[in-house]
Point group: C2
Chain length 124, copies 2
DNA sequence: ACAACTGTACTATGTGTATAATACAGTTAA
DNA sequence: TTAACTGTATTATACACATAGTACAGTTGT
């Protein structure tokens, strides 16, 4: 069963997208694998204190991307392979690293300053 | 006059917040200084192809944070000092670096992998 | 003085997100 | 079989964001 224990919602970003991202990061980390069972919409809704329709929106998006499989009445399961996982890794890293680099560049930091900041914050 | 030539809107994040962030990063980089003149709401609206009300929302937020001063009928100007600038620097760096570190950690990367990625992306 | 700009305010509309409340049909296990 | 779960769908409400259009009063330079 996929865990959402460490899921923390941040405001400003749509909740259903945060759920998407949480699962994708778990896939990249190897914590979520092909065939893994997802919590039902209602259960996850209660667990996170989020409306069932919002969970459904996230799961629907995952289904549209071919990352989960759902059948009416039954549980939903992860549908992964090497290609999908690698595409997610590239998508997430490209997005995250690209945005931080452009941010720090815009603020006038040097590459050394940037690396130093990352290393300092890694411990906390 | 503050420049918006390199401003590129990204979807998913409210435009007025992106304008806020663009100006704050310019302040941190030293490209925007105390007393600098801002483009008028209407001019910036035309320049960026964004509704005047959206520009006004961004400028209003800057005014509420004490970073600009506006008088009805006259131009708006940056209102900065050392303390404000340093607070912005801390606010932006804390936010950006904190989010990238938690992202990469969630994806299972080591500190060395993270630094290596940042360095590789810095050139492009 | 006056024309052209400025900031500011207001109403209205459309879209996306999140919520609440129901409803129905398919599955699974006792 | 049947009770309890499952996914899926629908309607309604509320809020934030972005747009469009209009209006009015303050300033600035000629």
């Amino acid at each position: 069963m996929i865990s959402f224990e460490d899921f923390i919602s941040v405001d400003g970003i749509p909740i259903y997208l945060q759920i998407l991202r949480h699962i994708k990061r778990g896939v990249v980390a190897g914590a979520i694998q092909n065939g893994d069972e997802l919590p039902s919409r209602r259960v996850l809704s209660a667990l996170l204190g989020i409306n069932p329709n919002t969970i459904q929106k996230a799961y629907k998006a995952l289904e549209d991307e071919g990352l989960i499989e759902s059948r009416a009445g039954a549980k939903s399961y992860m549908s992964l392979d090497v290609d999908k996982t690698e595409k997610i890794r590239i998508q997430l890293l490209e997005n995250d690293v690209g945005s931080i680099v452009s941010s720090l560049k815009q603020m006038g930091l040097s590459k050394e300053d940037a690396v130093s900041l990352i290393e300092k914050h890694w411990e906390n």
